[in-house]
């Protein structure tokens, strides 16, 4: 779905698949683009008006990024036996 259809859902629902005119769609696109720009300008303006210096400070706790989400459970199962043996064989490191 293009952004025109997303913005004007009711109209898109009523219009058949090949029936919207390109002029119509283009005009709608321009309208929604203008609205986007206007919204952005208003947001910026209000930010400046509030007196807008934004301070960015690092959180005092370290940021932890979880890297394990892609590891599959069947891989864990397959490695379990060798991992148990490895831990037993190398007590100094574990």
């Amino acid at each position: 779905m293009n952004s025109f259809e997303l913005t004007y859902r009711a109209l898109a629902a009523k219009t058949g698949p090949m029936q919207g005119s390109s002029v119509h769609i283009a005009a709608g696109k321009r309208r929604s683009q203008r609205r986007r720009v206007t919204a952005a300008m208003m947001a910026m303006g209000s930010a400046l008006a509030i007196g807008g210096c934004v301070s960015v400070s690092a959180p005092d706790k370290p940021i932890v990024i979880e890297l394990n989400i892609n590891i599959k459970q069947d891989v864990v199962y397959r490695l379990a036996g060798d991992v148990a043996k490895t831990i037993d064989d190398n007590p100094g490191a574990f």
Partner: protein, 142 residues
């Protein structure tokens, strides 16, 4: 060993005893015993088990604690890389699976990292908070 024994079983017993004795002498060099500084840091909660299979610091470490953890982590990385190669997995997968078991093996009072990244202290009689995939690491296949 060329000591003569009347029975073969006696000879084998002596030879294996000799091998064990030599192995015991070589214990620290092979990394078969934990460095006492590592033991102390672990018991004091200055180092803890991370979910990725390495040691982390629940609180800001001293230089000595950092040295201890770095030494252990380097050894672990070497082990994970070797084993992952033979087991046809990535180093991260092997390390993660090892972490599952290591966190389960933490003694009460030691620190480990929960799946949400926060540090927990292991309490007696309570299962540690682990990634759900870790259950697969507990069942020994075969």
């Amino acid at each position: 060993m060329t000591v003569q024994f009347p029975r073969k079983s006696g000879r084998i017993a002596l030879q294996s005893a000799a091998v064990f004795a030599l192995a015991a002498l070589a214990v620290p060099a092979l990394g078969q015993a934990r460095d006492p500084a590592y033991e102390a840091a672990r018991a004091a909660g200055q180092v803890g088990e991370l979910v990725d299979g390495y040691l982390g610091f629940p609180s800001s470490p001293t230089a000595e604690v950092r040295r201890v953890a770095d030494a252990v982590n380097i050894t672990r990385r070497k082990i994970y890389t070797q084993r992952a190669l033979t087991q046809h997995s990535t180093v991260e997968e092997y390390a993660f699976t090892t972490a599952c078991r290591l966190i389960l093996k933490t003694a009460p009072g030691e620190k480990y990292q929960a799946p949400d990244g926060t540090w927990h202290t292991r309490t007696a009689g309570e299962a540690p908070s682990r990634d759900p995939k870790c259950i697969a690491a507990d069942a020994l296949p075969g």
